[in-house]
């Protein structure tokens, strides 16, 4: 009886974890949702305006304040970005190249330029929006540190609030 309880308890714990955002972590081969929040803010700011990846006609689509909203009752100018929107952005970036993303993350973020999102952001691959992330700038550090599973939140915050140019 005791044994049964123990087993069912561990199943319950397992199931509970599987239902949490960690689940998307697993399917993405280690991409970290918990660390993604500041990255989402940076991406939204640099790429997510309504005339770019805030458009529904783009395949890589970002949502949140300053861009398109998931909730019909919300506006681009408010209220603040929701957790659902950050989840959406997380799935959006993973969905571009899931296999390569998995490999890059498994290798500790080495050679991030294997990812088209990094190349396009840096403008090193044909990109309608040109260069939005400079090699080694705060936005670049933000994205690549997340791929290395050690996100630099300060760099993300700077890249999010920075006035460009």
């Amino acid at each position: 009886m005791k044994r049964f309880l123990l087993v069912s308890m561990s199943i319950a714990i397992f199931a509970a974890c599987a239902g949490s955002p960690k689940q998307s972590t697993d399917s993405a081969g280690g991409a970290d949702r918990a660390q993604f929040t500041p990255v989402s803010g940076m991406l939204l700011r640099r790429c997510g305006s309504l005339d770019c990846h805030g458009r529904i006609y783009r395949n890589f689509r970002l949502v949140g304040v300053g861009g398109r909203r998931l909730d019909d009752k919300y506006y681009p100018d408010g209220p603040a970005t929701t957790e659902d929107e950050i989840d959406h952005n997380f799935q959006a970036i993973l969905g571009i190249e899931p296999e390569i993303m998995r490999t890059v993350i498994a290798e500790g973020g080495a050679n991030p330029q294997r990812l088209t999102v990094v190349r396009k952001g840096r403008g090193s691959e044909d990109h309608k929006g040109g260069q939005r992330i400079g090699l080694g700038d705060d936005a670049d550090i933000c994205l690549t540190s997340w791929l290395a599973s050690d996100v630099d939140s300060d760099a993300c915050a700077r890249a999010t609030t920075q006035r460009l140019p």
């Binding site: 309504l50 805030g54 006609y57 783009r58 998931l70 681009p76 460009l164």
Partner: protein, 162 residues
């Protein structure tokens, strides 16, 4: 898993059609005919996305780099005449334009072809309003700012919240 497959499929479809966006003529048609009594000129189509027609694909000419409409309040359709719109481009180059009696303004692309992204602010008799985010690709304000706004459009460009 299914979701990822779907994203993949979507990415494929989008990739193969990424240059087309929705058909330009549909976008133009969706804006409807000219309002009766308003000539095709600087007072027409206030609040509409000017660059849909003046963005190089026609039917409007000349081609504009930046154009839009400014209102007094977020919640009201009264135009703001005499506001100064300041546009600063990625090189720090900037231009100021005044709005007319229907709130419209425009810069012809032959006069100035700014480098994106753009920073935007506007002022009127000591009051001002600034756009916090950047314009990354479309110089037509009303492409993003439309009417009272919704989940995909910010409200009309306005000076005052109320």
């Amino acid at each position: 898993m299914r979701a990822i497959g779907f994203v993949f499929l979507g990415a494929f479809v989008a990739l193969s059609s990424s240059c087309i966006d929705p058909v330009h003529s549909d976008d133009v048609d969706a804006l409807g005919p000219e309002a009766p009594g308003v000539p095709e000129g600087l007072t027409h189509r206030a609040g509409q996305p000017c660059l849909t027609c003046h963005g190089g694909l026609g039917p409007g000419s000349p081609r504009f780099s930046v154009a839009g409409t400014v209102y007094l309040k977020r919640t009201d359709t009264a135009a703001l005449q005499g506001a100064t719109v300041v546009i600063t481009d990625a090189d720090g180059d900037s231009r100021s334009v005044e709005t007319n009696e229907v709130g419209n303004f425009r810069i012809e692309r032959d006069t100035w072809n700014p480098i994106f992204p753009l920073r935007i602010s506007l002022s009127y008799q000591g009051e001002d309003a600034t756009m916090k985010t950047l314009v990354n690709g479309n110089g037509g304000c009303n492409f993003c700012h439309r009417g009272d706004g919704d989940s995909t459009h910010s409200p009309r460009v306005y000076l005052r919240t109320k």
